[in-house]
């Protein structure tokens, strides 16, 4: 088989996967109730956001804290393109991502030329600037009143296909030459530079791609909730993406998916447990679960960092072969996998 054929086959397979995901989720949407459909949709959106944060921080090692700002740019751009210019969804959606990528370049350029953690502060400041701008451009964005009537477009299939494409693009990217350069920057910037890696270029490239996908995630959020407000995109939204990535593994794509699933389910588990306890009449327990999950979340965040700083999967990927080998090892060594895993 020639190289050209291999390429073609890769695209065909990918096209089939996207079609399969589309068909599967459309089927699911028809069968499932609104609540699980909603959770699945949120999972897809969160996973896109986690993956985009993982690219710049997990793979390239640059700490970005302005994720919520890029989500806001994507969400508002996409919503306004549809509402004011009457553009079709797909154009507006991609427009949101591109705008966010452009802003990513403007933010990344002054801070990523430098070695150090300046990016984290500049991005965090950027998020406050975006909030200030959105709050003060009332005629266009609705300002502090929020933007109501954003068209509903984020169905489960839309979100799932976006996630599939994101996973495909990012996993190809991190295994390409560019991806190796990202990892080289993370591991040792000076060493990377000395073997000829243009570190500034790759840091900015990673940041722009990450901003693009964060913008797409934001646009999905906007077209799902149908209402936008500058304060939705606060610092805690960024922290959500950070927790998904550190739960799953810094620098692991499948890890981000697992982390996104965990963090999406966590508040739902607490909420449902609170309802169950309330139905038994244990109001004190129920009330604590309802409020206390925020503390649990913070404690979990810290415990992961202190006990397993690389996250559940670390930099490894979960693959079928890996799972199969693990199951076989379980079979060989008997019952206690957690002892024998070393």
């Amino acid at each position: 088989m020639t190289a050209k054929n291999a390429h073609l086959r890769k695209y065909v397979v990918f096209g089939l996967i996207v079609l399969g995901v589309w068909a599967g989720t459309t089927f699911l949407k028809g069968r499932l109730a609104a609540y699980p459909t909603g959770i699945l949709t949120y999972f897809c959106i969160n996973a896109v956001l986690a993956l985009s944060w993982n690219l710049v921080s997990g793979f390239t090692g640059q700490f970005s804290l302005g994720h919520a700002g890029f989500m806001a740019v994507g969400a508002y751009t996409s919503a306004l393109l549809m509402m004011r210019l009457k553009l079709p969804f797909l154009v507006a959606f991609l427009g949101g991502g591109l705008m966010s990528g452009l802003v990513g370049f403007l933010v990344g350029f002054p801070s990523l030329r430098l070695v150090g953690d300046y990016l984290s502060v500049v991005t965090l400041g950027f998020q406050y600037i975006i909030t200030a701008i959105l709050n003060n451009t009332t005629p266009l964005t609705g300002g502090g009143l929020g933007l109501a009537g954003v068209p509903y477009r984020t169905t489960l299939p839309t979100a799932a296909v976006t996630l599939t494409i994101t996973v495909w693009v990012l996993s190809n990217l991190v295994n390409s030459k560019q991806g190796r350069c990202f990892v080289a920057v993370r591991e040792d910037e000076v060493a990377a530079q000395s073997v000829g890696v243009d570190t500034t270029y790759y840091k900015i490239l990673a940041f722009i791609i990450s901003s693009f996908f964060a913008g797409l995630g934001g646009a999905l959020t906007g077209h799902y909730t149908m209402y936008l407000h500058p304060d939705i995109f606060n610092y805690l939204k960024t922290v959500d993406s950070v927790s998904m990535v550190i739960l799953g593994g810094l620098g692991s794509i499948t890890g981000s998916l697992i982390g996104a699933l965990g963090i999406t389910l966590l508040p739902e588990i607490f909420r449902n447990a609170a309802t169950v306890f309330a139905s038994f009449g244990w109001m004190a327990v129920s009330g604590f679960l309802r409020r206390g999950w925020m503390v649990f979340y913070a404690v979990m965040f810290l415990m992961i960092m202190l006990t397993r700083p690389q996250g559940l999967l670390g930099r490894r990927e979960l693959t079928w072969a890996g799972v199969k080998a693990w199951v076989q090892k379980l079979g060989r060594k008997g019952v206690r996998p957690w002892r024998s895993s070393r």
């Binding site: 090692g61 804290l65 502060v121 500049v122 400041g125 600037i129 200030a132 709050n135 960092m305 202190l306």
Partner: protein, 293 residues
């Protein structure tokens, strides 16, 4: 003229807050070379300790202030001992330190929301008297305390860092940790003391900001961030730089809000930060550093 003087005074007052917090970022960055995002939560913590001491009426204000400063210092020291030191000893990448410091902030804020209260609190009136009015320029008592208190703390810190043995050891650790250890300096203890001092100063800033505005769980967020911008503008690692950056941002912010537009007041600090990073990345008073292998 009267209005300008008033704006300058307001800038001085708020600049004192930024300077007090910025110096904490700079000191910790000096010894550990990482941005301690948890520093802003120390500010919130200090404000709450003082607030609840005052509300329970067990002690007069000076005692509450002292108690809060000491407790915040100890709290800052504990965050380092329990969270950052184990990571450092494991040799974890700096990214993990940054993420952990975010986690500490998250824990403090969420614990206050869940176990104390999510509301905004007005600080009990502790300072006597009405604002002093000098031919139209108003000096509220809180501002006077703010400017006086922060000046005293800053002078004390300068004396401590430049004239005492413990203070000099902080400078030595900042310059070269390994060499300092070889010269017989107890590096671990020095780092603890640095965190204690940073916590002390942040707590003072937190209490006075709480008195000036109000006390709420996310009090530290924006103030902490602008103060960090101040320490980078002044040159991170440099104590006089942190003061300069703090006052500079304080003045620019109040003048900008007074004469240009108050809508973008919060953005001024970050615009200044980006400009400094573009044109003089080591900050106004910082020394350029060489990348070492």
């Amino acid at each position: 003229m009267r209005e300008l003087l008033q704006q300058l005074w307001n800038g001085l007052a708020i600049g004192s807050v930024y300077a007090l917090v910025a110096v904490g970022y700079t000191l910790v960055f000096g010894v550990l070379k990482f941005i301690n995002f948890a520093h802003s939560s120390i500010l919130t913590f200090g404000a709450y300790v003082a607030l609840y001491t005052m509300l329970s009426k067990v002690a007069p204000f000076p005692v509450a202030l002292g108690l809060s400063m000491v407790l915040s210092g100890v709290f800052a020291m504990q965050t380092e001992l329990r969270a950052f030191r184990p990571l450092r000893e494991k040799g974890a990448p700096r990214l993990n330190l940054l993420i952990t410091s975010i986690g500490v902030t998250l824990l403090v804020e969420n614990a206050i929301v869940v176990f104390v209260s999510p509301d905004f609190h007005v600080f009990p009136k502790v300072l006597p008297g009405t604002p002093i009015n000098l031919s139209g320029v108003v000096f509220p008592p809180v501002d006077l305390l703010l400017v006086a208190g922060s000046s005293i703390l800053m002078l004390a810190l300068s004396y401590f860092v430049n004239r005492t043995l413990t203070g000099l050891s902080i400078k030595a650790v900042a310059l070269d940790r390994d060499a300092a250890a070889l010269m017989g300096i107890n590096v671990g203890r020095t780092i603890s003391i640095t965190f204690f001092i940073a916590g002390l100063m942040a707590s003072m800033a937190g209490i006075l900001v709480g008195m000036k505005f109000s006390v709420n769980p996310s009090l530290g967020g924006l103030f902490g961030l602008k103060s960090f911008a101040a320490s980078v503008v002044g040159g991170i690692g440099s104590v006089p730089g942190a003061y300069l950056g703090g006052y500079l941002i304080g003045f620019l912010e109040t003048l900008g809000a007074g004469y240009v537009s108050s809508n973008y007041k919060d953005a001024i600090a970050f615009v200044l930060l980006v400009l400094v990073l573009l044109f003089k990345p080591s900050g106004l008073l910082g020394k350029g550093t060489q990348e070492k292998v």
